[in-house]
Every structure is written in structure tokens, then in C-alpha cells.
């Protein structure tokens, strides 16, 4: 029972109404998965308007607590099932990632269901792209690491062995229980406990990777010189980096695509104007100009939002769009030469529609490739700024600041402070580059090592940070 007679004209909704079975089954699974984490979403949304509402959630620290204390007999109290904090924390991390993997797999299933039951065409070029990506091991490596990084950023509050608020922002308002030397249950503020858990580069003043401090707290990445838990710091820092990276790439990608379409469609004077503007911005040394802007605008109201994260994202977007625009300008000009664009013009189609429907889809792939590659550069740039003490202001965690803090401990027992953030940056940036490579080979198998290499190199370099 079709609503319209011509099956080609039916919208997705109508096609689903025709055969609701598979879609409903998929939706039921999706709702179930969402229900497990609904509490976190509700908490986040209500948190925007006041104190967040607490609901039981599968992946919360309340359900699988890892903070407890050890009795003199060696039994752990208040932790999940009486397990040691390390194991409890490990279970929570594993659960978070299992949940994320299941969700992703379910989304993929959703796409397959759509492909099988609801898509009108049996085959589209996109199927081939996905097949090529499936055989691209290097791109998959990138995708896996990027996935792990994104999940780390998304689930940062649940992943850390403790919370940012407890250990970094307000350590003297929270307490931990522990048994002191006399075998008595004692109570001490987190701030004081942190003083006893400092990593200062000497063997007796160090809490290294995967170690407990003397208050029975587990530190997967060790502690900072101030005794604060470093994994919590890193997870929260991943969130800041990802936020800045995604927002600035989104904005500059949008500007770049609009300009590329406009200049390719109208050419002439519009093109010249954008070329000169873009060249001027690109002739400013990016990192230095970003520094200048972040110092100049440091006292404005916009720098107060998200500890300067929003400002940095805007600065990186404003200075980064010409690089992306350069990368998609060529493809956009090629598309503009095609016959179907001419046909659309003489058909009397509005320019905006022509650009949106007939040109944009072709440059989107390239945009994705270069965005993925520049994202790594932005992450490095942001870390470099916070290394110098600019950009994201303390106490909001940022990876570059950890490198700065640990500078003098690199060759001591507290080597982890500088080393781990650096390794993570290398991994994440390599992964974004690999993902970009994979997408490029998937959308355009002939392009391997084509002309785009030059701008690609600039995009991936992070402006020298």
C-alpha cells in the first residue's frame, strides 16, 4: 500500500511505513541502548539550567565505584563488589568502551538495514567507497584510535578514577577515608591526600603509572607534581581538545566550502577578492598570530566561556579556513566546468540550489579529508599554546599544560607527567592523519600522492607547534 504511485518519489518515511518491521526492530534496540545512558543525557540537559538531575545510569561512577579504603586485613570497602580500585576502575572503563562499541555497531546495522530494506537504489558510488575503506588497514587503524579518543572525551567524567571537581578544582571540599598507621579509620580532605601523593621525581615522592598512593587511591597514569590524578586530567583535557578541534574545523570547513562554491560558481572578481583575503591570512604566521590574538582577547567576555576554549576555537577557525579553502578550491572549479552545472544554469535553477545540490556533494569528501588532517594540527597548536601558558586557562585541564608541568621531571622517576601527554598527542594526530588518508583513498582511489600533497603537508603540520 504505497502512498504515492511512483516508488521513486516515495520519501524515506513512506518507505518505512510500507515495511515497518526491520526499522522498528532497529529502533527498539537503539532505544534500549539509549535507555542505559538516559540518565547521563538528562543530567547534562538539566545541568544546563541548574543543578543536574541524578538518575541511575549504567556507566556512572555511582554504580561501579572505585574509590574505597583498605582495612588492615587487606579487604577493600566501598568499592564495587569489594574488588580492588584498580579492578573496579578497569571494569568501568571496559564497560564504557563495550557500550560505545555496541552503539557504533548498532548504528552501522542501522545503515545496513536502510540499505537493504529502504534504499531505492541497489547500488550507489558510496557503497564502493565503504568497501574500499573496509580494505584500508591504515585508515582503520586511524579510525580505531580516533574512536577511542572521542569516547575518552565524551565519557571523560565516567572514565577518570576520580572527578575533575574532586581532585583538581575543589580538592578541599571533599574527603577520603583511609586507615592510618594505628589501624584507625581516618578522614582527610582530598587536597591534603593529594599532598601526600605528589610526583616530585624522587623514588619516595612519586606515584607512577598504575600505582596506588598511600590513601588507597588508584592512579592509572600516575599523579601530577601537585598530587592530582593524571588520568582524570588527561580525560578532561581530551574533552577540551576535541571541543576546540571540532568546533574550529566545523566553522572553518563551513566558511571554506561556502567560499569555494561561491568562487567556483561566480569566478572573476569574487574569486580574486577571496584569493587576496585568503592569501593575506595565510601570509600571517599562523601560530604567532593565534598567540597574538589569544593574548589580545584574553580579557574579553568571550575568553571566559569554557576557560577560553570557545575563543581558541574561533581564533583557529578564523585563521584556518584559507588552508581548507585552498584544498577544495581546485575540485570546486573542476565541478563548475561540468556540463550538468551548465544545464542547471540554463534550466533556470537558482544559484544557491545548484551549489547546494550539484556542487557541494562533490567537494564534501575532500573537505572531510583535509578536515581530518588539520584537526591534528589544531590539537597540537592548542597544546603548544597551553604549554606557553596561553589559551585554555588553568585549572581547566589541557594536555600541553601537563607537558609544561612535567618539564623538569623527564629524566626522573616521574617521567610519566610529560611523556604520556606527548605520546597521546602523537597517537591522536597520527590517527587523524591516517583516517584522512583512508577517506581520501576511499573517495578517490586515483589520487594517491596527487597534487594536494603540498597543502596537505601544511594542514597537518599544525603551523610549527
Amino acid at each position: 500500500m504505497s502512498v504515492t504511485d511512483d516508488p521513486e518519489e516515495a520519501t524515506l518515511l513512506e518507505r518505512i511505513q510500507d515495511d515497518p518491521g526491520p526499522a522498528m526492530r532497529w529502533l527498539a534496540g537503539a532505544l534500549l541502548l539509549f535507555a542505559l545512558e538516559a540518565g547521563a543525557v538528562v543530567n547534562f540537559v538539566t545541568g544546563l539550567f541548574g543543578p543536574g538531575m541524578e538518575l541511575p545510569t549504567l556507566l556512572s561512577r555511582e554504580l561501579i565505584p572505585n574509590n574505597g579504603f583498605q582495612t588492615p586485613a587487606g579487604v577493600w570497602k566501598e568499592t564495587f563488589l569489594g574488588l580492588s580500585p584498580a579492578v573496579a576502575w578497569g571494569i568501568r572503563v571496559a564497560l564504557v568502551y563495550v557500550y560505545a562499541i555496541v552503539c557504533t555497531w548498532w548504528l552501522w546495522r542501522g545503515y545496513l538495514v536502510f540499505r537493504e530494506h529502504y534504499r531505492y537504489a541497489d547500488w550507489t558510488p558510496r557503497d564502493d567507497m565503504i568497501d574500499r575503506l573496509r580494505g584500508h588497514r591504515w585508515g582503520q587503524f586511524g579510525a580505531v584510535i580516533v574512536f577511542a579518543f572521542v569516547i575518552m572525551a565524551m565519557f571523560a567524567p565516567a572514565l577518570g578514577p576520580t572527578t575533575v571537581e574532586r581532585t583538581i578544582q575543589d580538592p578541599y571540599s571533599y574527603t577520603v577515608d583511609y586507615y592510618d598507621e594505628n589501624g584507625e579509620l581516618a578522614n582527610v580532605t582530598v587536597g591534603q591526600a593529594n599532598l601526600g601523593a605528589r610526583s616530585q621525581g624522587t623514588p619516595d615522592q612519586n606515584v607512577g603509572v598504575m600505582q596506588y598512593d598511600e590513601y588507597g587511591r588508584f592512579h592509572p597514569f600516575g599523579t601530577l607534581p601537585s598530587g592530582k590524578d593524571m588520568f582524570t586530567f588527561m580525560a578532561a583535557g581530551a574533552r577540551v581538545s576535541l571541543f576546540i578541534g571540532l568546533l574550529s574545523i566545523g566553522l572553518s570547513g563551513f566558511i571554506a566550502a561556502s567560499f569555494a562554491l561561491l568562487t567556483a560558481y561566480y569566478k572573476g572578481l569574487v574569486d580574486l577578492a577571496v584569493v587576496i583575503t585568503g592569501d593575506s591570512i595565510m601570509s600571517l604566521p599562523r601560530l604567532l598570530f593565534v598567540m597574538l590574538l589569544s593574548v589580545v582577547l584574553a580579557d574579553t567576555w568571550i575568553a571566559g566561556i569554557y576557560s577560553g576554549g570557545l575563543l581558541l576555537a574561533l581564533i583557529f577557525a578564523a585563521t584556518g579556513w584559507p588552508i581548507l579553502w585552498r584544498a577544495v578550491r581546485g575540485p570546486a572549479f573542476q565541478i563548475a566546468e561540468q556540463e550538468w552545472i551548465d544545464a542547471a544554469k540554463s534550466f533556470g535553477q537558482k544559484p544557491r540550489i545548484t551549489m547546494q545540490k550539484h556542487m557541494a556533494p562533490y567537494i564534501l569528501g575532500y573537505l572531510l579529508v583535509y578536515s581530518s588532517m588539520s584537526l591534528g594540527g589544531i590539537i597540537i597548536g592548542v597544546a603548544g599554546l597551553s604549554f606557553l601558558g596561553l589559551g585554555v586557562s588553568a585549572p581547566t585541564p589541557e594536555w600541553g599544560r601537563a607537558i609544561d608541568i612535567g618539564q623538569s621531571y623527564v629524566t626522573t622517576t616521574s617521567w610519566h607527567i610529560s611523556f604520556i601527554p606527548g605520546i597521546l598527542i602523537v597517537l591522536v594526530v597520527t590517527a587523524f592523519n591516517a583516517l584522512g588518508d583512508g577517506i581520501r583513498d576511499a573517495i578517490d582511489p586515483q589520487s594517491e600522492g596527487g597534487e594536494g600533497e603540498g597543502s596537505e603537508a601544511v594542514a597537518a603540520g599544525g603551523g610549527g607547534a
Partner: protein, 342 residues
């Protein structure tokens, strides 16, 4: 279009870029909330002195007036004087004392990157899909993704502790130098280049910083060198040369090597961007008081003329390098069209 017409067009197009770049800089430093006066007199300065200094510096003039003065000064190369970092010192004399260290650093970072990155990339491209190719390619990719400042921190710490870590003292090796600090450059270039006692300590001192600063470009050169060689090896004219019986040695050197160099030109010139930007971080870590360090000081202290003039110098440098790159391109590869892109 002849080569000279093309050159003229390129020059003409760079003028608006320069003007626009300088204007953006003006907008940021003068129209923004940057306040050099309170940096000069400190937070407790009295309002009268504040206003007097503002008047003296010409900050009470209308903005368009300041803009015209600023642009005229820059384009007649009157770079002015520093206000805060080193008060009343000419920017030219500041440049003369800070720039040599940065130039020395940049020179070696380009050279080291070129002489390690390109041969490795070519080697990998000539032996594709072998273990050493994978090792070199993977190394290049990871090397490229490393943040300069982190590499600098690690290298600096390891080198200063090399005695206790490896039983080999970097500080006392060949010449006695500290790991950090500016390189010991003599007053004039001739002494530096002719006397080994000056040349080698200065080189040894700058080497770690230069390796760090060149790291990203080195990875790029390697990757692109590899793909360029692979592409050239598989092209038709190499097949023809092989069929004609050209000996392998001359095939590699004369036909493959020279053609594979072409796509590397923009990468090498593009290093200039990375060097200018990266110099701030590397110079800060290694405590080399060069241009990047000076610029950073200028920004932090709100030293408007210093920052503006340095920015202008950087823009000029980038524009000139871009023109040189395009010219080089047309000379090396005559197939590159003169009217392709602005």
C-alpha cells in the same frame, strides 16, 4: 604569458596581500584591548602619568590617523622603537642582535631536514614494500605528528642528563657546551664560517633545537619524496629509458632523482612557515633568545610597535618566499602553467 610577465603579475598580487596582512595586524594590536601604557608604568601608576604617556605615544589620536601613520611607517621601512621590552631601542638594532640566532637555527633545521628526510624518502621509494620502506615510512609519519615543543622538552632533558642515562656526556663531547642557551655566534660571518673553533661549537649547540624544529618538515619531505619516486619510477619515460638500455645508475640519478625533486620544492619553501611559527616554542624551551622569543615577549608586554613591525617582517618574508617558490617552480618544471592559480 612570458616568465617576466608572470613574475610581474605575481609581484602585483603580493601588494594587496601585504597591505591586507599589515592592516589585519594593525586592527588586532591597535583596535583591540591591548594596553601598553599600563605595561610601561606598572599596575600602580597614577592616572596623570598614564594619560601623559598615552599622549606621548600617540595613542589618543583617532584610529584612522594611527592607521595611516602605521602603514606609511611600515612601507617606508621605518620600523620604529620598542616601547616596553627594551624601551627606546630601535627595532632594527633589536633585529640585528636577535635575528642571527634564529637564522642560524632555521638554516640548520632546513639543512638537516633536507639531508635526512629526502634521502630516506627516496630510499624508501626505490625499495617499496620492503621492511626498511615500512620502517622509514612509519618513522616519517610518527615524526611528523610529534609536537615540536614536546620533542624539545624530551630531547633537552635527555641530553642534559646523558651522563647518568647512557654514560656519555653530550655536554663535554668534542666541545664543552650547555644544552640550553643561545649559540655562541661570533660577531661576523667570516669568522663563523672560517674558524672551526667558532663554527663547530655553534653548530653543536644549535643541533638539538634544529633537529626538533625541522622534525615536521623532515617527515613531510620523506613521505612526499617517497611518493614522488614511486610515481616517477612507474611513469612511461622510465619504461622507455629502461627499454633503450640506460644503465641503472644513470636511470636513478638522471631520470628518477631529478623528476622526483619537483614536488619537494613547495615543501622545502613551505618550511619557512613552520620555522617562523615553531621558533617561539623551540626557542622558549632551549632558552635561545631569538626572534620568536622576542616576539613572544613583545606580545606578553603589549609592545605594539615591536609586535607590529615583527609581524610585518614575517609577512614580507612569507610573501617573498612564496614568489621565489613559484619562480623556482617555473624554472625547474616548464610544464607548470603561468596562469594556473594566483
Amino acid at each position: 604569458m612570458s616568465r617576466w610577465q608572470y613574475f610581474g603579475k605575481r609581484l602585483l598580487l603580493s601588494v594587496p596581500v601585504l597591505v591586507f596582512g599589515a592592516s589585519i595586524t594593525f586592527l588586532v594590536i591597535r583596535a583591540g584591548p591591548l594596553d601598553p601604557v599600563s605595561a610601561i608604568i606598572g599596575p600602580q601608576g597614577d592616572p596623570q602619568a598614564y594619560n601623559r604617556i598615552r599622549e606621548q605615544l600617540g595613542l589618543n589620536e583617532p584610529l584612522w590617523r594611527q592607521y595611516i601613520d602605521y602603514m606609511v611607517d611600515l612601507f617606508t621601512f621605518q620600523l620604529g622603537e620598542s616601547w616596553v621590552v627594551q624601551p627606546e631601542r630601535d627595532v632594527y638594532s633589536l633585529l640585528a642582535s636577535y635575528a642571527p640566532r634564529t637564522i642560524w637555527l632555521g638554516f640548520w633545521s632546513v639543512l638537516i631536514a633536507v639531508f635526512i628526510g629526502i634521502p630516506l624518502g627516496f630510499y624508501a621509494g626505490l625499495n617499496p614494500n620492503t621492511f626498511s620502506d615500512y620502517l622509514a615510512s612509519f618513522g616519517g609519519i610518527v615524526w611528523r605528528a610529534m609536537p615540536n615543543f614536546w620533542l624539545a622538552v624530551i630531547l633537552m632533558s635527555v641530553l642534559s642528563q646523558s651522563q647518568s642515562l647512557f654514560g656519555f656526556s653530550w655536554q663535554n663531547w668534542l666541545y664543552e657546551t650547555n644544552v640550553t642557551g643561545p649559540p655562541p655566534l661570533p660577531g661576523d660571518l667570516v669568522t663563523l664560517l672560517t674558524s672551526p673553533d667558532h663554527f663547530f661549537p655553534a653548530l653543536k649547540k644549535i643541533a638539538p633545537a634544529a633537529i626538533v624544529l625541522g622534525s615536521a618538515s623532515m617527515g613531510n619531505e620523506m613521505r612526499i619524496g617517497r611518493t614522488a619516486v614511486l610515481e616517477t619510477v612507474n611513469s612511461n619515460f622510465i619504461e622507455t629509458a629502461k627499454a633503450k638500455g640506460v644503465p641503472p645508475r644513470s636511470l636513478v640519478w638522471k631520470h628518477i632523482f631529478r623528476n622526483a625533486l619537483i614536488p619537494l620544492v613547495p615543501i622545502i619553501t613551505g618550511e619557512a612557515f613552520l620555522l617562523i611559527g615553531g621558533s617561539v616554542l623551540v626557542e622558549t624551551v632551549f632558552n635561545i633568545s631569538g626572534i620568536g622569543y622576542l616576539f613572544f615577549q613583545g606580545i606578553q608586554n603589549g609592545d605594539m610597535p615591536l609586535v607590529g613591525s615583527l609581524m610585518f617582517v614575517f609577512i614580507l618574508l612569507v610573501v617573498v618566499i612564496n614568489i621565489v617558490q613559484d619562480l623556482l617552480y617555473t624554472i625547474i618544471d616548464p610544464r607548470v602553467g603561468y596562469d594556473g592559480g594566483a
